[in-house]
């Protein structure tokens, strides 16, 4: 047991103005003998600290700051050098991305309090919490949201699942095969989608968005903006007569713009709900008051052209946020020529092109133009013979996004394999920096692809240019110690993942925080990856940070576990931002007295 009045607090740096008094705050504890700053010592000389430890009879050190871990080994070496127990050391970290400035001070103080009193902060901040409304809201119906909804609904809890687009399924529905097992995304996803559509505990609100969230953990009131579909879900039979007659053509979102859709459309054949949507922004009737042919041909008269959007309010106890991502805009990297050269594609476009249910039925072809000059893909066009895939487009790059998007290496390998499968004589090459095939079965997949006659080259492609009608890419082959100037027919840019467009807005209305990049911030990156600073609000899937399908599914389930647990207990734990310093102080005293 560490003696009373033998603790020292070392602040990593002199904190900014709002935190000035911390030095005084820490010094006032009877347990604390010394308050030091890291700048007082020479980090190159552990004697500079160990002599002070010895001189002052310090037995335990608390290191506090933005990243105290950086000092940890220096301090424990100094403790050992001074003949003290090197493990009598507590790190108190505050991270600006976890807390907004207002809450930062009280949480920092509470953490110092816990460290001084030898109580784990996690135990002290574990509050009993509020009564919970059993109904749960899941925002976003990609694979993570679907998984969380099903998991919760299967426990007999009512779920409202909100999806921005007209169908559930998210990005996964757009994919062809999934790595590393190469089973088709639709085969494993659509049964889940149907299950969601038919589940008696799930209320599905597609074409809807969250506007505002108020209330507290266990009792949230959510304002939902329901865009009108202008098609009655109950009566539409999905016959498609309306689409056939609709005169408007716009790029299909589901096909990543590789083909055109009508203004009244169904996103894809297996959409859930499998009913049509009238896209008001592109409909001639809605915009100009003319046309309306769809309503005329509808055999069951389920199209209401003059329907208006509405805003509804729902009350829920828990919220799971699973809003996913958007892909990096490849046009930002001018030197790859996306948007300039028609046969430079993003990986999402290529994914649709490869898809057996995609615009070309799975054949890889050159981009052609429709009557109005839109770049589309048609099944009977010529196939490219030389295809290059470029990794890390917009990822791991200080000029765009610093983070690694985690999935691009694997999906690029998968695409290379699919190209070889469809065009066995094609010359396929891949350009990467580090091959990140880390998951179960991934490395084995990489080894398998290497044997399929695909050139996998270490070296980031620097530029793609058009010369004599061919695309020429320039890259260094690092392992081969040579430069590569290669003519190809098609270039696929493996674009990274970015936070969704509305994620900042949503974070604001939920009052949760985001990190520097814009991903939703988890409470603790080690073991609280689905919790947020607010009680009853959980995050799952890519909106928390890039992830592949199994990891998103696991996180969706993990978030569901939290919801189910709170419903079973009828109580939802308070979040960090709902707790005051005094709450924690009371709990600390409680814990100390039970210990004794």
């Amino acid at each position: 047991m560490v003696k009373q009045n033998s603790r020292a607090v070392i602040f990593q740096e002199r904190m900014n103005s709002g935190l000035e008094k911390l030095e005084q705050f820490a010094g006032e504890f009877p347990e604390v003998k010394e308050v030091w700053f890291a700048t007082d010592f020479s980090m190159k000389d552990k004697k500079s600290l160990s002599t002070r430890i010895k001189e002052n009879g310090v037995e335990k050190i608390i290191v506090a700051g933005r990243s105290p871990g950086e000092l940890k080994s220096f301090v424990s070496a100094s403790l050992a050098d001074a003949g003290k127990n090197p493990e009598d050391l507590t790190l108190v970290s505050v991270n600006g991305t976890i807390l907004s400035d207002g809450d930062l001070l009280s949480v920092f103080k509470a953490k110092i309090l816990c460290a001084v009193k030898d109580v784990h902060f996690e135990l002290a901040s574990d509050s009993p919490g509020n009564e919970v409304n059993k109904k749960t809201l899941v925002i976003g119906a990609g694979i993570a949201g679907i998984q969380a909804s099903l998991e919760i609904a299967n426990a007999g809890i009512d779920v409202t699942l909100i999806e921005k687009t007209g169908t559930i399924g998210g990005h996964m529905a757009m994919f062809d095969k999934t790595f590393p097992t190469l089973d088709c995304a639709a085969c494993i996803l659509t049964p889940k989608m149907v299950e969601v559509g038919q589940h008696q505990n799930i209320e599905l609100l597609t074409y809807s968005e969250v506007l505002d969230v108020s209330g507290e953990a266990g009792d949230y009131t959510v304002k939902v903006f329901k865009k009108t579909r202008r098609v009655d879900l109950a009566t539409c039979i999905g016959c498609g007569d309306c689409t056939e007659k609709c005169p408007v053509n716009v790029p299909s979102e589901f096909d990543a713009g590789t083909t055109m859709r009508k203004a009244i459309y169904i996103p894809f054949p297996q959409a859930v709900p499998n009913k049509y949507i009238l896209d008001g922004d592109n409909c001639t009737y809605v915009q100009k008051g003319k046309c309306g042919v769809c309503a005329k041909v509808c055999p069951v008269e389920c199209i209401y052209l003059d329907d208006k959007d509405e805003t509804i309010e729902i009350k829920v106890g828990n919220i799971v946020v699973a809003t996913g991502f958007k892909t990096f805009d490849a046009e930002k990297v001018e030197r790859f020529g996306y948007g300039k050269y028609p046969n430079v594609l993003t990986s999402l476009e290529f994914e649709r092109l490869l898809n057996a249910a995609g615009p070309t039925g799975g054949s890889i072809v050159f981009r052609s133009k429709d009557k109005k000059g839109n770049g589309i893909f048609e099944a009977n066009s010529d196939s490219p013979e030389r295809i290059a895939l470029i990794h890390c487009v917009g990822s791991r790059d200080e000029n765009y996004n610093t983070h690694c998007s985690r999935v691009c290496c694997m999906y690029s390998l998968k695409m290379a394999h699919l190209v070889k499968e469809k065009l066995p004589d094609a010359d396929v090459s891949e350009y990467y920096i580090d091959m990140r095939s880390f998951g179960k079965g991934y490395e084995e997949f990489y080894e398998r692809i290497k044997k399929e006659g695909i050139d996998i080259i270490r070296g980031r492609t620097a530029k793609v240019e058009e010369k004599n009608g061919n695309l020429v890419l320039r890259s260094e082959d690092i392992e081969g110690m040579k430069l590569i100037e290669k003519e190809v027919d098609m270039v696929v840019l493996s674009v990274g993942l970015e936070p969704g467009e509305d994620s900042q807005k949503l974070a604001k209305s939920l009052n949760i925080l985001t990190d520097d990049i814009g991903w939703f911030a988890e409470l603790n990156s080690t073991n609280q990856t689905v919790n947020t600073v607010r009680g009853g609000i959980f995050v799952a899937g890519v909106c928390q940070g890039p992830k592949d399908i199994p990891d998103s599914v696991a996180q969706g389930s993990a978030a569901a576990a939290r919801v189910i647990q709170s419903v079973i207990n009828s109580k939802v734990k308070k979040g960090l931002s709902d707790l005051s310093y005094n709450d924690i102080e009371t709990k600390v005293n409680e814990l100390i007295s039970t210990e004794e």
Binding site: R335, C392, R396, D397, E398, N399, I433, D434, R458, G459, R460, T461, A462, K463, R474, S475, E476, D477, I478, M481, K482, L483, I484
Partner: protein, 354 residues
């Protein structure tokens, strides 16, 4: 035979450049691929960075590649890790300059600003001392100046530049065991001079055209100014053509160098974002040379020179500092090494390809 890696070279190089940013490099190969000048035999900047990081000192000392870079800044602009390969190449050139220089002064001046200041002050004091010895008589000082310039050129070339070029030759060709037939050397001479005066290769970096033109003008302006002042005796001549010619070249030098200085102050372009003391010295002294020569001749033409003797002494100090310090040990040598590097590189690749 395996080489032992050495983490200390890295730290040594830091003294010749801005920071050790190139440690951030994760070897994606972007810089090498984006560069318009790289070829299979010359994979820079990445391979140069690698040699530095790993402390492969011998390999690095024999590497010509740093001289083949004309610093367009593409690599630094597109570097995904902010490792700034362009500036690293610049530092590598400074370091190599110190390697080639047998006197060791070059390295001292690059690394230590105080040493540089002391040297500059010493030179200035010596010139003033000469003036004192000549009792501040304008004519005898100008006469001395004229002889001094010729002597200076001769001794710098013979004592410093030629030995250093041989040192470079020894490191990059002999030590690398390149045995090229003599004929190759002869054939390459035309290219050597062409590159020396035109830096033709830098035109391959597309956005360099204007800068290349400016450079070309400065090089020619500088050489012509040298010829007019030293060999055509600009300050003493009565020949109107020569006088006017001197004005033009002198003006050319200081106007363009003024633009260079402005760019470095504005730091807009990638290549002018960071300036080492040696860069400042080079452009400022070039400017001062042109400018003071211009002013001196104006004073001569307006017969005001006798009242402004000190101005001539200042000009002479600038020339002396330039000739004694900057030309043999400073950035001026890049002009020479770069041209010889192209020459050696051509011989090397011709030999390797044959």
């Amino acid at each position: 035979m395996s080489t032992v890696v050495n983490p200390d070279l890295n730290a040594k190089l830091v003294k010749f450049g801005n920071k050790s940013e190139w440690n951030e490099c994760y070897h994606c190969g972007n810089c090498t691929a984006v560069c318009s000048l790289t070829e299979n035999e010359n994979l820079f900047p990445r391979k140069v960075i690698r040699q530095l990081q790993m402390g492969l000192k011998d390999k690095f000392n024999s590497n010509i590649d740093p001289w083949l870079c004309y610093y367009c800044g593409d690599c630094s602009e597109t570097c995904p890790r902010d490792a700034n390969p362009g500036e690293m190449m610049m530092s590598a050139r400074r370091y190599l300059t110190s390697v080639y220089d047998w006197t060791g002064l070059s390295g001292l001046f690059f690394k230590s600003v105080p040493a540089l200041i002391i040297a500059f002050v010493l030179v200035a004091v010596s010139i003033i001392g000469v003036g004192y010895a000549k009792q501040f008589n304008l004519e005898s000082i100008m006469e001395f100046g004229h002889v001094f310039e010729k002597m200076l050129i001769f001794s710098v070339v013979v004592l410093i530049l030629i030995p250093n070029i041989f040192h470079m030759f020894w490191l990059t060709i002999i030590k690398e065991k390149i045995k090229a037939p003599f004929l190759l050397y002869v054939k390459g001479i035309w290219d050597l001079f062409l590159h020396m005066f035109t830096q033709k290769k830098s035109l391959k970096c597309e956005k360099n055209t204007f800068r290349w033109f400016e450079h070309l003008l400065v090089v020619f302006g500088y050489i012509l100014l040298l010829i007019t002042t030293v060999f055509l005796n600009w300050f003493s001549t009565e020949n109107t053509y020569i006088i006017w010619f001197g004005y033009i070249v002198g003006g050319l030098v200081f106007i363009i160098t003024f633009d260079f200085i402005l760019e470095r102050v504005k730091k807009k372009k990638e290549l002018s974002k960071f300036s080492h003391p040696s860069d400042w010295l080079f452009v400022i002294w070039l400017f001062l040379m042109g400018f003071t020569a211009f002013i001196v001749r104006i004073l001569i033409d307006t017969d005001l020179i006798s009242n402004n003797l000190w101005l001539y002494i200042v000009h002479l100090i600038v020339i002396a500092q330039w000739g004694i310090l900057i030309v043999p040990f400073g950035k001026w040598t890049h002009f020479l090494y770069r041209s010889f590097a192209v020459y050696f590189a051509n011989i090397k690749s011709a030999e390797l390809n044959s």
